[in-house]
């Protein structure tokens, strides 16, 4: 292994290049969503005096922190080549479970822990087991668990919201600022950073990418594809439950329709952020930018007095445009590659190394 260190040491220039390259890589990866985000910030900043204010940004952060938590969770199954539609149901059901536990007199930390761990285990045993181990299509399974969890939520509550005005600790946690930064935002960003660390620096993170990139290659390399898939659905369910808990604090209530269809907003954020629908490509930083884009757009439209109906229209256009541009760029790159390969000079060692070409006769 001494050789190994020698190679690292003999290439200090490469090291610097590597940092430069990864910066360049990041710039090109996020230039689509990044450009649109900057454009929005400039347009709203110039035209609306109320936009570029501390209180507005506090508002943007706290009202999108929950979407960020959901989107970070959804990024995991999507990177592994799947999808989790059921997060909205898990989110609502987790809020209801927390409310019931707290109203039943359980202390807050225990109630939160039980809710999150319960969702994690349930996600593993339903979505994870069926998709990972039984190979059932992810769309069908998670659509099913979405309607089931939403149905259970309606059944438990009789369709009514549960108000939670007495839980001062939780409410304060969700609505206060620390040094001017919303607590909700801190929780969201902590989840983001933790997620980035897991995906970038752990073996599990690498496995998620490889399962999404080429499940057969992953399997032949000894990776348990089923176990990796199961874990991604457990993570997305666990984070959906955390989102549900934060929502209870923010709204001081829980109910069966809380955060309904957040799975679609979350998916839009993840996809705008550059995660490939087929898996294997994308980052949580992209997901963050996707969420930021949606948050800035919503706030800007609101301040400008433009109908909020435009939000859906613009989101849809940006989503389709960003994926289309990506697709076209990839196609151009691959045609360029074929040309390059055609021009590859054949190395001179051919003559020497190919044996038995028949001079022997």
């Amino acid at each position: 292994m001494a050789e190994e260190t020698i190679h690292v040491e003999t290439a200090p220039g490469k090291q610097k290049n590597y940092a430069m390259n990864s910066l360049k890589g990041a710039m090109s990866t996020y230039r689509g969503v990044g450009a649109v985000l900057i454009l929005l910030l400039i347009v709203f900043g110039v035209t609306q005096s109320a936009f570029m204010t501390v209180s507005n940004f506090q508002n943007i952060v706290s009202s999108n922190a929950i979407l960020l938590v959901i989107a970070v969770g959804m990024t995991f199954p999507m990177l592994s080549g799947g999808f989790d539609l059921s997060v909205a149901g898990t989110d609502a059901l987790a809020g209801i479970l927390l409310s019931k536990l707290l109203l039943g007199g359980m202390p807050i930390p225990e109630a939160i822990a039980i809710t999150i761990v319960g969702a994690f285990v349930l996600g593993a045993l339903t979505n994870g087991l069926l998709i990972g181990y039984f190979g059932v299509n992810f769309f069908i399974v998670t659509l099913g668990t979405l309607t089931i969890t939403q149905g259970v939520a309606l059944q438990i509550t009789g369709g009514n919201d549960i108000t939670m005005y007495n839980e001062k600790w939780l409410l304060q946690l969700a609505n206060n600022n620390v040094f001017g930064f919303p607590v909700l935002g801190l929780v969201g960003l902590s989840v983001l950073v933790l997620g980035i660390l897991v995906l970038r620096y752990t073996g599990f993170g690498r496995m998620v990418y490889s399962v999404g990139g080429n499940p057969e290659a992953a399997r032949l390399s000894g990776i348990s594809v089923a176990r990796v898939r199961l874990t991604t659905y457990a993570i997305s369910a666990g984070l959906a439950a955390l989102a549900g808990i934060l929502e209870v604090g923010r709204l001081a209530s829980s109910g069966p329709t809380t955060d309904s269809s957040i799975e679609l907003t979350g998916a839009a954020a993840v996809l705008i952020g550059g995660v490939a629908f087929g898996g294997g490509v994308g980052t949580l930083l992209g997901t963050f930018l996707g969420v930021a884009f949606l948050g800035v757009l919503q706030s800007g439209l609101l301040i400008s007095g433009i109908s909020s109906y435009w939000q859906g229209i613009i989101t849809g256009i940006v989503l389709i445009a960003s994926v289309t541009v990506d697709r076209m760029r990839a196609r151009r790159a691959s045609s360029r590659k074929i040309k390059l390969a055609g021009e590859d000079p054949v190395p001179a060692i051919v003559e020497v190394a190919v044996p038995s070409t028949g001079e022997g006769s």
Binding site: Y201, Y209, A353
Partner: protein
């Protein structure tokens, strides 16, 4: 080349009696750095069965795809009945009376037999038909290929042999004047193959031209009025039925005279690194036994589907042996467990880089380190890059830029990444499946060098391939497979290319 003069083939013999139906003139096609087809000319007369023979990569399938409109040639001309044509797609070829049964799947498994047979007929969006009408239309086609199954049966529910008959029926739906058959019998058993031959002979007497592509020499001898041999994308000879023999065709396919080659000598030891004792491999008839010593390479020679991949996958722990023992340095390996095999020092490089090997959208570094991660351990990019650099340097792979997406590398470099990854677990036994498939000559030579170095350093290697040059250059002994049987074991000295080609094509 000197061997051409020794060929019994004389092109003048093949002069056609009547006006040819299809003529291809100096057709060429290039894929990237590979000249797949180089100025090949071919004429096919009505009512003639022309055999197209050649090794893997000789250009047979490329020619077949050009003739059926699946790909367009870079240069050269096609003419049908004396009229110049260009095919933009298979539909154009069908219009001109050219249909093919190819290796690609061209049926819809969930539709009925009748619907599949008529797939090329109802091609307009506005076609309206009833089930009864459909069956009425399909009936004569099914009769022609002798299929007695219910026309409403789902295609997927049929036997593989019947699948081929349905595909032939489908190709007859547009009354072709020329039918192209690409390796159809490799998928089916003997009785169904007989049925296919009967159909072809009937078609011939009805004046239909047939281009028959196969690896199986006995089929060529039996069916073909004339045989054309391709090698490295060039047409190297033709022979009439009278001139053709299994030996003459395989000599022409190989086209080289054997020359002795210095392969690394095996260390003087009686220790077996890998030992297969009567291993019953799933889907292979009989049992497989062989030994590999340190520094020795054993070749598994056979065509696609002959069972070579199954043997490798069983050793690698991907498939479970149904009996027998696999021993590494005398210790038995638990069968059917990839991780157990890996722990014993067995490393496997699969055949299909794109489907089984690489994360195409990820970096070279990621691909190098695939499979070395533990879920709850941290990974380090710097260390991964160092590992990748170490192994690419050690085997002279001349790779740098490890952050580049692996899909942008050449086929040869992608192959090196796969071999490098397999080596990074410091294996004692390396299993290689078609290590030079789809790489250019230069990269191929480099892969050869890597393998030779490995042998010199005492690696035990099992090499599965259909490429005889590769097998003879690298392996010390060769096991030949044909149609899921082990048909022979030869030492490197006994294994002439003619003999290998003959045996792996089912000659006895």
């Amino acid at each position: 080349m000197s061997e051409l003069s020794t060929l019994p083939g004389d092109p003048s013999v093949s002069a056609l009696q009547s006006r040819p139906f299809l003529v291809a003139t100096v057709v060429s096609k290039r894929f990237g750095a590979v000249q797949a087809l180089n100025e090949v000319s071919l004429a096919v007369g009505p009512g003639e069965i022309v055999g197209l023979a050649g090794e893997n990569g000789s250009g047979k399938s490329t020619l077949a795809k050009i003739l059926t409109g699946l790909i367009r040639p870079d240069s050269g001309e096609l003419s049908v009945n004396g009229q110049a044509v260009t095919f933009a797609n298979p539909g154009d070829a069908l219009e001109m009376g050219i249909a093919g049964v190819t290796q690609e799947v061209c049926v819809v498994p969930y539709l009925s037999v009748a619907e599949n047979v008529l797939l090329t007929r109802h091609r307009r969006f506005t076609s309206v038909y009833t089930l009864a009408q459909l069956e009425r239309d399909a009936k004569p086609l099914l009769d022609r290929v002798g299929l007695t199954c219910n026309p409403r049966a789902q295609f997927a529910s049929l036997r593989p042999g019947e699948h081929v008959l349905v595909e032939i029926g489908k190709s007859l739906a547009r009354d072709p004047r020329l039918l192209l058959m690409d390796e159809v019998t490799t998928r089916i058993g003997g009785r169904d193959a007989e049925r296919v031959f009967e159909i072809l002979l009937q078609l011939r007497s009805a004046g239909v031209s047939i281009v028959y592509i196969t690896h199986r020499l006995e089929e060529i001898l039996r069916l073909c009025d004339r045989t054309v041999v391709l090698r490295d994308g060039r047409l190297v000879g033709e022979m009439s039925r009278a001139q053709a023999s299994a030996e003459s065709i395989s000599r022409m396919m190989v086209g080289r005279d054997a020359s002795p080659y210095q392969r690394p000598r095996v260390a003087e030891t009686h220790e077996n690194r890998l030992e297969l004792r009567n291993v019953r491999v799933p889907e292979i008839v009989g049992s497989v036994s062989f030994n590999v010593r340190p520094g020795e390479a054993v070749g598994l020679c056979g065509l696609v589907g002959s069972g070579r991949t199954e043997i490798l996958e069983t050793i690698a722990g991907i498939r479970k042996a149904q009996g027998g023992e696999i021993l590494v340095s005398g210790l038995p390996v638990k069968s059917g467990s990839l991780t157990a095999a890996k722990r014993m020092g067995i490393s496997f490089v699969p055949e299909d880089r794109h489907k089984q090997g690489l994360l195409l959208e990820s970096s070279t570094r990621m691909n190098f380190s695939l499979g070395r991660w533990r879920a709850l351990r941290l990974v380090s990019r710097v260390q991964e890059t160092a590992m990748a650099r170490l192994y690419s340097h050690k085997f002279n792979m001349r790779l740098n830029e490890f952050e580049r997406k692996v899909s942008t590398l050449s086929g040869g470099n992608q192959q090196k990444v796969m071999i490098g990854r397999a080596l990074s677990s410091e294996p004692k036994i390396l299993l290689l499946d078609e290590p030079t498939r789809g790489v250019d000559v230069g990269a191929r030579a480099e892969v050869f060098e890597v393998i030779k170095e490995l042998l010199e350093s005492g690696m035990a290697i099992v090499l599965a391939s259909s490429d005889m040059v590769e097998l003879r250059a690298l392996s010390h002994s060769i096991i030949v497979l044909y149609d899921r049987h082990v048909v022979g074991a030869l030492t490197a000295e006994e294994a002439s290319e003619e003999r290998l080609s003959f045996m792996m094509s089912g000659g006895t």
